[in-house]
C-alpha cells in the first residue's frame, strides 16, 4: 500500500517542475542548484486514493553535506520502506552523474521509479538514451519525460504502481561508478555536434576577463531594466488609476465622514491644503493602498520579472564563480551571492536560501549581512520614490553607503566569527532559454506572496500609527529617543515614529517620512538608517527560526551598533 511518494534527485534536474505537474501545486523553479530549500508537499490522485507527494531539496548522494541535503535524507529515512515510492528524477543530459544517486536509492532497498527528465534537451544536445535497455539494466521502471511541456507525465503517473525494490548489494563508491560506466556504455549514444553560440557564451562566462565583462553588463542592464519597467508602471498605470479613478471617490467620501471626525482621520487622514494627498494624508484608504499598489507593487513586478529571467537562464551560478574570490574575504564563498540577490527582493527568502551554505559560521555571516546591508525591493522602491526627486546622487549614495557597510562589516565578521568557512563546490548549469510558462508562474507566485503577506500588514501598520498619533501616544516615545535622533542623526523627533515602524514594514516606515518635509540630507540619512536598522518583523522571525535566539541577539546588537555609527557619521560628514 503506497502512502507517500518522494521526489528525489540531484540539484537542478527539475524536481520542482515535476512536482507541480504531479500535484498541481505551483512552486518556484529556476536554473540553478538549490532553488528549493524547503520541503514541498502536495497530493496526487491515484485511482481513488489520494497520495501525499513530497518534493525534497536536491542532493548528490544519501550522505548529506549541507543543511538542505540533510533535511532531504532524514525525511526519507523516517518513513517505513514498504509504504513509500521514490521517484528518482534524473537529468537525461547528464545521465552518468545522476545515476549515482539512483543506484544508492536502489541499494537502500527503496521502491523506485526513474523519471528521465529533460529528454527534449538531451536530444538537442545530441544525447540519445535507450530507455528500454536502461529499464532492464536497473530493474525498475524508467519513464522519459519533459516536465516543462508536460510530456511523459501521464505515463509516469500510470507507472508509479509498477515501482519495485530490487535486491542489490551495497557496493563501494568505486564499484558504483564502474557499474554506471557499464550501464552508460550500453544505453547512451552521443552524436558529435559543433560548438553552438550558446556553448561559446557558456565558456566565455566562466573565464576571468570575458566573464567579468558579461557579469557587469548583465547586472547593469538588469538594474536599468528594473528601474525602467518600475517607473513606467507607476507613471503610466498606477498613478493615473489612483488620480483619475480612485481620488474622485475619496473626495466624495471626505465630507460625508466630516473632516474633524475620528473616522475621517483613520480612513482618509489629514487633508493637505484642503486636498487628499496620497503621499502625505496617511489614511487607511489613501496612503496605505498608494504605498503598496502605486509605489511598491510596480517595482515588485519589475524586480521579480528580471530576477526570474536571470534565474532561469542560468547566470547566477556563474556569478558565484566570478565573485568567489571577493566573497572569501568576508568569510563567505561565491554561492552566497544567490541568497544576497534573493534578499534584494525580500530578506525572508534570502535568509532561507542560506540553507545552501554548509557551515553555521557562513550562515550567520550571510544572514546578518543580508538583514543589515541588503534593502528589500519594497524599501528600495520607496527610496526611489522619495529621494529620486532630489538627484541621482542621493539614490546611488544610499547604495554606496550600504556597500561600504557590507564590506567593512563583512571583513570584521570574518575575523571575529568562530567556526570554519568551506570552499565553493558547485555545478554550473548550461545556459537555458527560459520557458515562458515557468517564468510567468514564478512571477505570479511571488506577486501573490507579496500581496498576501504585505497588504494586511501595511493596513494594520497604518491603522496602529493613526490611532497612536490621534491619541498622541507617541509623544512619550519620541521624547525619549529625541536626543539620539535629533542630536546624533540630525533628524526631527517625529522620525522616531518612522524608525519604530521600520520594525513592522520598511515601506510604510519610509511612507511615514513623507509628511515630515525633510531635507535631502535628512531623507538620505533616514533611508540609510531604515535600511541598516532592525529588519522587519518577518525577517526577524525567519532569522530566529533559522539561526536561533543566540545568533539573533548577536545580529541585533551588531545592527544597533551599525545604525548608531552610520547615522552619526553621515550626519556630521555631510554638509
Amino acid at each position: 500500500m503506497i502512502k507517500k511518494i518522494f521526489l528525489i534527485g540531484n540539484p537542478n534536474v527539475g524536481k520542482s517542475v515535476v512536482f507541480s505537474r504531479l500535484t498541481g501545486v505551483q512552486v518556484i523553479s529556476s536554473n540553478y542548484a538549490g532553488t528549493t530549500v524547503e520541503i514541498m508537499r502536495g497530493f496526487l490522485k491515484l485511482g481513488d486514493q489520494e497520495i501525499e507527494v513530497i518534493d525534497l531539496p536536491g542532493t548528490y548522494s544519501l550522505e548529506p553535506s549541507s543543511k538542505s541535503e540533510e533535511v532531504a535524507v532524514s525525511l526519507l529515512n523516517e518513513s517505513a520502506k514498504d509504504e513509500i515510492v521514490v521517484i528518482s528524477i534524473v537529468d537525461a543530459t547528464n545521465l552518468e552523474r545522476n545515476l549515482y544517486l539512483t543506484l544508492q536509492l536502489l541499494e537502500a532497498g527503496l521502491s523506485v521509479v526513474v523519471c528521465l527528465n529533460m529528454c527534449d534537451e538531451a536530444k538537442h544536445h545530441g544525447v540519445s538514451i535507450d530507455t528500454d535497455s536502461l529499464e532492464k539494466l536497473l530493474g525498475v521502471p524508467v519513464i522519459p519525460t519533459c516536465a516543462i511541456t508536460g510530456s511523459g507525465i501521464k505515463m509516469l503517473i500510470e507507472r508509479i504502481k509498477d515501482a519495485k525494490f530490487i535486491l542489490r548489494d551495497r557496493s563501494s563508491h568505486r564499484e558504483r561508478w564502474q557499474t554506471i560506466g557499464a550501464i552508460i556504455e550500453q544505453v547512451q549514444r552521443l552524436t558529435h555536434r559543433h560548438h553552438s553560440l550558446r556553448e561559446v557564451l557558456e565558456d566565455a562566462s566562466v573565464r576571468p576577463f570575458s566573464g567579468a565583462l558579461i557579469a557587469i553588463g548583465v547586472m547593469f542592464t538588469s538594474f536599468e531594466v528594473v528601474r525602467f519597467i518600475g517607473e513606467n508602471l507607476i507613471s503610466r498605470i498606477a498613478d493615473p488609476v489612483f488620480i483619475n479613478f480612485y481620488q474622485p471617490l475619496l473626495i466624495k467620501l471626505s465630507p460625508i465622514l466630516g473632516e474633524e471626525s475620528f473616522l475621517h482621520h483613520l480612513l482618509i487622514g489629514d487633508l493637505i491644503n484642503g486636498k487628499i494627498d496620497f503621499k502625505q494624508s496617511l489614511g487607511l484608504l489613501t496612503t496605505a493602498p498608494y504605498i503598496e499598489f502605486a509605489m511598491v507593487l510596480p517595482y515588485i513586478v519589475s524586480f521579480y520579472l528580471v530576477l526570474g529571467l536571470l534565474e532561469d537562464i542560468g547566470i547566477l551560478p556563474r556569478l558565484a564563480m566570478l565573485l568567489d574570490n571577493l566573497l572569501h574575504r568576508i568569510g563567505l564563498h561565491g554561492f552566497a551571492i544567490i541568497p544576497v540577490l534573493l534578499g534584494l527582493g525580500c530578506n525572508v527568502p534570502g535568509i532561507l536560501a542560506t540553507r545552501n551554505l554548509e557551515s553555521k559560521r557562513e550562515r550567520f555571516i550571510a544572514a546578518t549581512l543580508i538583514s543589515i546591508g541588503i534593502p528589500c525591493v519594497a524599501l528600495q522602491a520607496m527610496i526611489f520614490g522619495l529621494l529620486g526627486k532630489f538627484s541621482g546622487f542621493y539614490v546611488s549614495g544610499v547604495y554606496l553607503v550600504l556597500l561600504v557597510i557590507w564590506v567593512v562589516l563583512g571583513v570584521i565578521l570574518n575575523h571575529t566569527t568562530k567556526g570554519y568557512s568551506p570552499e565553493l563546490l558547485v555545478e554550473i548549469p548550461p545556459y537555458r532559454f527560459p520557458a515562458l510558462s515557468t517564468l510567468w508562474k514564478k512571477l505570479f507566485l511571488r506577486i501573490k506572496g507579496f500581496l498576501i503577506e504585505a497588504a494586511p500588514l501595511v493596513l494594520l501598520g497604518v491603522l496602529i500609527i493613526n490611532v497612536l498619533l490621534y491619541f498622541k501616544l507617541f509623544d512619550i516615545f519620541t521624547g525619549l529617543f529625541a536626543p539620539i535622533v535629533r542630536g546624533l542623526f540630525g533628524l526631527p523627533k517625529e522620525a522616531v515614529v518612522s524608525l519604530v515602524m521600520g520594525l513592522f514594514r520598511k515601506d510604510v516606515a519610509v511612507g511615514m517620512l513623507m509628511p515630515l518635509a525633510l531635507s535631502a540630507k535628512q531623507l538620505f540619512i533616514a533611508a540609510v538608517l531604515l535600511a541598516v536598522s532592525f529588519p522587519c518583523a518577518a525577517t526577524f522571525f525567519v532569522f530566529f527560526k533559522e539561526l536561533g535566539l543566540k545568533d539573533l541577539i548577536k545580529a541585533t546588537l551588531i545592527m544597533c551598533a551599525v545604525a548608531l555609527v552610520t547615522g552619526t557619521l553621515l550626519n556630521f560628514a555631510i554638509r
Binding site: D324, E423, L424
Partner: protein
C-alpha cells in the same frame, strides 16, 4: 607523466585524477559528483591567482574553490 595539482593545471589541459587528499565528508561529496581517482577531467578556467577553478567532468561543469582545487592531484601527459 607529470603530477601537478588541479590549481596548477593550464586552461584546456586534460588529465587523470591521481589522488585526492581530503577528509571523508568532502571525499564522499566529490565521489557523488563524479570526482574520483582515475577519472579524466578537463580544466576550463581559473579566476585570478587564488580564485576558483572550473573543470569539465563527464558532461558536467563544476566549480571548485582554490583550496579544494589544491587538494586534487592530477596526472597529465604534458
Amino acid at each position: 607523466m607529470k603530477k601537478i595539482s588541479l590549481a596548477q593545471m593550464k586552461e584546456k589541459q586534460k588529465g587523470i585524477i591521481f589522488d585526492i587528499s581530503c577528509g571523508l565528508a568532502l571525499h564522499n561529496k566529490f565521489m557523488s559528483m563524479g570526482i574520483y581517482k582515475g577519472r579524466e577531467i578537463t580544466k576550463i578556467s581559473h579566476i585570478g591567482l587564488k580564485g576558483p577553478v572550473a573543470i569539465k567532468v563527464g558532461r558536467s561543469v563544476l566549480v571548485l574553490g582554490h583550496g579544494v582545487a589544491n587538494k586534487i592531484v592530477i596526472e597529465s601527459h604534458d
